[in-house]
């Protein structure tokens, strides 16, 4: 081997060694800061939520947390053999609470945000919101947004469903006759009384309407808002544990029971 080749191999070897050490140090840094290690050491998982949002989370006068998210946090912690400490933070402060290490995770009817995926790791979705069509149970004619065209469709004045129907009329060429009423109960009454062929509202509002058997959710959701759990980007081990717990809670029926208890059977406090 020529002296020149020897030099090249020596430099390449040195660079590889530096790279190896850098990767090793990086891995150690991540594992040292991973919230999962901290949680395991203290036996407590700190869950940030804006507890003013039934049926997902709210806190009563005794400081007890209720709702689907609160129970989901307890179910995950129980699976891990840990205690839960709830950290009540206004919604716009949730991410900063996570970054400032005031909490280990956010579980607060949190929508996935593609803009933040460099800073946080999101779990798989555990429940979905979004706008849906509600029709009388016997009605088979309406399944999609296009089917609404030419029909009277009721919404709550100013609600997201109202904006959605306005958008469909403007951008998709539909001719939906929008019946905007002052509150959701008036809109439901309009559907029940035959003044409207369908109602468009949030899935979370729609689920309790289906319990009597008189109404049902038609077709696919018009919009889908999956709710997810967020951890800091430096905590991949915690993210992995959360996904594993969600999978397990889904397989054993816990997630379905929680949804039935909090979303279908009750509407909060």
């Amino acid at each position: 081997m020529s002296a020149r080749m020897t030099r090249i191999f020596a430099i390449a070897g040195l660079l590889l060694a530096v790279l190896f050490v850098a990767v090793l140090l990086g891995r150690q840094r991540v594992s040292r800061e991973d919230a999962w290690r901290q949680i395991a050491a203290t036996g407590v998982v700190r869950v940030a939520m804006d507890a003013a949002y039934p049926p997902f989370e709210w806190v009563d006068e005794h400081g007890v947390y209720h709702g689907l998210d609160a129970d989901l946090a307890r179910a995950m912690a129980s699976r891990w053999g840990l205690e839960v400490a709830f950290v009540n933070v206004a919604f716009d402060g949730l991410y900063d609470a996570l970054f400032a290490r005031k909490a280990d995770l956010i579980l607060s009817a949190l929508p996935y945000d593609a803009l933040l995926t460099r800073d946080v790791i999101y779990s798989r979705p555990y429940v979905a919101g979004g706008q849906v069509i509600v029709v009388p149970a016997a009605d088979e004619s309406i399944q999609t947004a296009a089917d609404l065209s030419g029909n009277v469709v009721t919404v709550e004045l100013g609600a997201e469903g109202h904006a959605l129907l306005s958008r469909l009329n403007r951008d998709s060429g539909l001719a939906i006759e929008i019946l905007a009423l002052n509150d959701l109960s008036a809109a439901v009454a309009a559907l029940e009384g035959g003044r409207a062929s369908a109602l468009v509202c949030d899935r979370i509002d729609a689920l309790p309407l289906t319990t009597t058997g008189k109404m049902r959710i038609a077709g696919e959701s018009l919009t889908v808002d999956p709710y997810v759990i967020a951890v800091r980007a430096d905590s991949p081990a915690l993210a992995k544990e959360i996904d594993a717990a969600l999978t397990s809670l889904s397989l054993d029926g816990t997630l379905e029971r929680l949804e039935k208890r909090w979303l279908v059977g009750a509407t909060g406090n």
Partner: protein
């Protein structure tokens, strides 16, 4: 000594090469033009005026992350068309000075140019700390005291650039919340020092600019709370720390939550008129000549948030609030409610604060406020305006 090629041959080859280079350059240019993303041509247009019967109406726009110029323009046009002459806009320090001393005003220029063209009066809120001005592992709301001078230098640079077009600057936002103070215990004396340095720096370059002390978050956080400090106590503590000479007006955050606009104020109640208690503190400290500016506030109409009201009530209360400000709050210059429109849907209850959707569909509250501003009959509300 250089050897030159024979003149004739060289000239011929040179000309042939130049022709090919020119053709390639033209082709490259055509490809470049054709492959460039289409961009809507946006002209600032002639100066417009806001037509309204309530000169205190305003909104907090949220154009910070709005990328497309036509959307910035359309957003501000819709504010004018609604009849609101005032806007509050957020100019994040980290966006405008990404590296120390290296300013990037491009986006701020767009917002200011279009707002001025629409005849709007701008109140600028400035915070959000760049990485280089704070320690690692801190949030963008964490401003260490050693960086106060850098913040002051920035707000002065902002004032100098936009003087004559932006005449009101808010120093920081809700420093009585731990979240807005970088998850530290709120510190009225510390904030007062930031206010002092900023005021002195701004006045040195543009003495006519109105420096507003930060809007405080309405909260009844108990003494010693790690999350926040009661806004009434915080304002008095600012005065105690010597803040009075260092602000020309006070920004106010006036949220109604579940209460109507005329719900009476009380220290143990968070409602719209709580700002009257802040006003009393100003007067008690000899600041009755200074004006107040509502720079955030209003109601939310999300179906599940416990601090929201129905959309119908939100419209009713909002109309009442603008009317009350005009009629009863002589000391209040403007009422800018949160938030006119977000560039993208938040998909949380925050969306239900807005007047217009991200794709510019006016919500009923927008339609009704536009009618109120023009003195026309309401479309949804039962009462006459």
């Amino acid at each position: 000594m250089a050897i030159r090629p024979p003149a004739g041959r060289w000239r011929i080859r040179h000309h042939a090469d130049m022709r090919w280079i020119a053709r390639a350059a033209v082709l490259f240019g055509v490809i470049l033009v054709l492959s460039a993303p289409t961009k809507r041509l946006v002209l600032i247009g002639p100066a417009r005026e806001v037509v309204t019967r309530n000169h205190k109406m305003g909104v907090h726009t949220r154009l910070t992350d709005e990328v497309e110029e036509w959307k910035i323009q359309r957003n501000l046009e819709m504010v004018r068309e609604m009849g609101a002459p005032w806007i509050v806009e957020y100019f994040p320090w980290a966006y405008c000075e990404p590296r120390e001393g290296r300013y990037d005003w491009r986006h701020a220029d767009l917002v200011v140019d279009h707002a001025v063209a629409q005849g709007l009066t701008i109140i600028a809120r400035i915070d959000y700390v760049p990485d280089w001005a704070r320690p690692p592992e801190t949030t963008a709301r964490y401003l260490p005291e050693e960086s106060f001078a850098q913040y002051a230098r920035f707000v002065a640079a902002f004032a100098e650039r936009y003087r004559g077009r932006v005449n009101h600057i808010i120093i920081w936002n809700e420093p009585n919340l731990a979240f807005e103070w970088g998850y530290r215990i709120p510190d009225p004396a510390g904030y007062t020092e930031l206010l002092r340095q900023s005021y002195v720096a701004i006045k040195a370059v543009a003495s006519e600019i109105q420096v507003l002390a930060a809007g405080l978050a309405p909260t009844m956080a108990p003494a010693g709370s790690e999350w926040g400090m009661d806004d009434l106590l915080y304002l008095q503590a600012m005065y105690d720390a010597g803040a009075a000479p260092y602000f020309d007006g006070l920004a106010l955050h006036a949220y109604g939550f579940t209460f109507p606009a005329d719900d009476p104020p009380a220290p143990d109640r968070i409602n719209l008129r709580r700002i009257e208690l802040l006003r009393e503190i100003m007067v008690a400290n000899g600041d009755e000549a200074k004006k107040g500016y509502v720079t955030e506030g209003g109601w939310n109409d999300h179906p599940r948030w416990t601090k929201a009201v129905s959309p119908y009530l939100r419209i009713r209360y909002t109309v009442d609030a603008y009317g009350m400000a005009l009629r009863d709050w002589e000391w209040c210059e403007a009422v800018c409610l949160w938030a006119f429109r977000f560039p993208v849907a938040q998909r949380t209850y925050q969306d239900q604060f807005t007047f217009v959707t991200p794709d510019f569909i006016p919500r009923p509250i927008y339609t009704e406020l536009a009618r109120y501003a023009r003195g026309e009959p309401f479309e949804f509300l039962l009462e006459a305006p």
